[in-house]
Assembly symmetry: C2
Homo-oligomer: 404 residues x 2
């Protein structure tokens, strides 16, 4: 298979398994300028498949870096309205969306004032995107685009071919029939979610080095997979790869301490050895080997940012985990192992929460915020239990293997 053929097959996977683009539908693509080679193939394949219109929004983190370094304070959190218009129009037109991940310079913001890095968010854009997701207006997916800088961050050398092979493994592009393989794989995850929902645990407990964390669940919390369905009934797989089952916790009932088990690359900064202490649901202490100031600025940017919005379980059967690689990219790393996210909850995972206002969501125990940041807390040394209402602990993951 030539490189061009591989890119074609990958684009087909993103369009037909991931976003599940419908003939006649519009397609939005969001990526960095460095992702243009994939965006171009996606556009070409989409039109060949009958898309009505394809529009690409290219972003440039160097331009954001210049803002953080030299721009006025009041511009840091501003979003040009046309960017919001772009996102909202996707929702209004019931479009498909492919977002491209894989940062060519994951530490571009290193050395900048962490507080300014944390503040420099196009918050209105994130909110518009969240609305589309929560109201299930678009069939969307996220895929990674292997590139030199990303390979360097993952391996210490710009071995793009090695990264391509790891990505191909993670997304099952190495299967003779990736579409069928994905169908089987999603069924496995659906069965896990079903098993957890049958149990109706009251909380999930993580125990390992530096970690003793209890995440309270809602009575209405439902475990789900990343196979979604839009309000109009179009199913799609929102992450390629995906290996998780996840739900929204009761954001008021997280307690204890947690230590991240993989670095977290975000906004041009790498957060390492993140440790959080929770009380009454809120992260009240934030320390880290690197990047603590960015996490603190994020949490300060929104009253409800320091509360959890997601808890997700992944074991070592994960294709991503099997590669043994820390990808330095959340899309991949969060699918290698169990994780939690601070910020917005996912109303779709809580009975009766769909279509509720932010205040109503919080009253139900589902967090609402303008951010959603996943970080990895699972691994071979981390035991995961489900706690029953009576207090009994049921092993879910032991030795990084699923027990239920």
């Amino acid at each position: 298979m030539t490189d061009a053929e591989r890119l074609d097959r990958y684009a087909e996977l993103a369009l037909h398994v991931g976003a599940n683009l419908e003939p006649g539908q519009d397609l939005g693509i969001i990526g960095l300028v460095e992702h243009a080679p994939l965006a171009r193939v996606l556009a070409d394949r989409a039109y060949r498949g009958g898309a009505r219109y394809v529009e690409v929004l290219y972003t440039d983190q160097h331009v954001r870096r210049a803002l953080i370094e030299h721009g006025p304070e009041e511009s840091l959190g501003w979003t040009p309205p046309w960017l919001v218009d772009f996102i909202e129009a996707l929702g209004e037109r019931g479009a498909a969306l492919v977002s491209i991940s894989g940062n060519p310079e994951p530490e571009l913001m290193a050395g900048l004032d962490g507080e300014r890095v944390g503040k420099a968010r196009t918050k209105a854009l994130a909110q518009a995107h969240l609305r589309n997701v929560q109201e299930r207006l678009v069939n969307w997916t996220i895929v990674g685009y292997p590139n030199r800088g990303w390979a360097e961050a993952a391996f210490g050398e710009p071995d793009v071919e090695r990264l391509w092979q790891a990505v191909a493994t993670a997304v099952r592009l190495d299967e003779p029939d990736p579409v069928a393989a994905w169908s089987r794989h999603i069924e496995t995850l659906v069965a896990r979610a079903y098993g957890l929902n049958e149990r109706g645990f009251d909380a999930i407990r993580f125990r390992g080095p530096g970690t003793d964390l209890t995440v309270g669940l809602l009575r209405g919390s439902r475990w789900k997979t990343a196979r979604f369905q839009t309000a109009r009934g179009r199913s799609h797989v929102a992450n390629l790869p995906t290996e998780e089952v996840y739900t929204s916790p009761d954001f008021r009932r997280t307690a204890g301490t947690v230590r991240s088990t993989k670095p977290l690359a975000m906004f041009g900064t790498v957060v390492r050895e993140l440790e959080l202490r929770f009380d009454g649901g809120r992260a009240i202490e934030v320390t880290a080997g690197t990047g603590a100031d960015v996490v603190r600025a994020q949490m300060a940017s929104d009253e409800h940012a320091p509360f959890l919005g997601e808890v997700a379980l992944v074991d070592s059967a994960s294709r991503v985990g099997k590669t043994g690689i820390t990808f330095m990219d959340t899309l991949f790393d969060e699918n290698a192992t169990s994780h939690i996210a601070y910020g917005a909850g996912i109303p779709d995972t809580v009975e009766g929460a769909g279509g509720r206002s932010p205040d109503e969501l919080r009253a139900l125990g589902v967090n609402h915020a303008s951010i959603h940041v996943d970080f990895m807390i699972g691994g071979p040394e981390v035991e995961v239990d489900g706690l029953e209402r009576g207090g009994a602990a049921v092993p879910i993951i032991r030795g990084d293997r699923w027990q239920l």
Copy 2:
């Protein structure tokens, strides 16, 4: 001077001589994804210089190619509304704008259906941009970004360094004080415009191989330079380089034949040996060595596209002309020699035309259309005369030298 220093100086020239960015002002940048290296330096320099917010709109002609090749007919002329919002917001906020030119693949659309290439225009975007320009809402400029593909188109080999040197010469970046050099240069052009306005010619006549064209002027036609002033009083140089004096003709009074003297690269097609025959102002015959179908489709896309909107005079004193290079880029080539443009006129060059509606403009004799396409008709063999109202011909250019 290192490459980085040269790029810095070039960005400073674009911002401070070209757009004349004001501290506290917003800046829009429009370019291809391949222009990111210049866009990034522009953003950095702009923020250092006190810009409030910098936003970059990256476009991708490969995505447009996919639309032309495989997209549905009804999508060809569509413009996503958020793109119009981007342009309109620049006008509303009184922003500065730098557009980047220099096509890395000027023949990307070669081999595609010329009619579809011509139709695939974001017409609403062009109209919004034209409104900003005609109502003088933004201080804008266009600059070229040397790149491999552009160098290959100009020289037959990807000699980017040679192209950089030619561009540096053309934009006076080789001067010890480019800002002062530009000030002197603009004064020379202003003097030319003044001389032409004093004469008050009734028409301009071009005669040379394949060309015998008379372009009627309006009584209100005023010759101008590309140093503009916004409605708010901010001056800017709209093209870097610029060597022309130009005006809007009486769009009803063009007659005769004209042959282009340089190839015209536009929309991924190169139009060579273009020949037009005009009658009653309208181009009634279009032939070309290559690209005739694209020109014909453009002219068919808008009732007033086949009429002239501009006539511009340039002689061999031009810095661009002196390089001896055909740049295959209109920004440069139109400043090497005299040219005309079919499509929209420039109301600002006609007394009493400012702020008029499209219908009022046409009633005055100023063309209004959604396109404006310059092509080159001057050169050593082309004589340019001014025709007085009594019929007498006054030499303006002979042997490619200014005579007035």
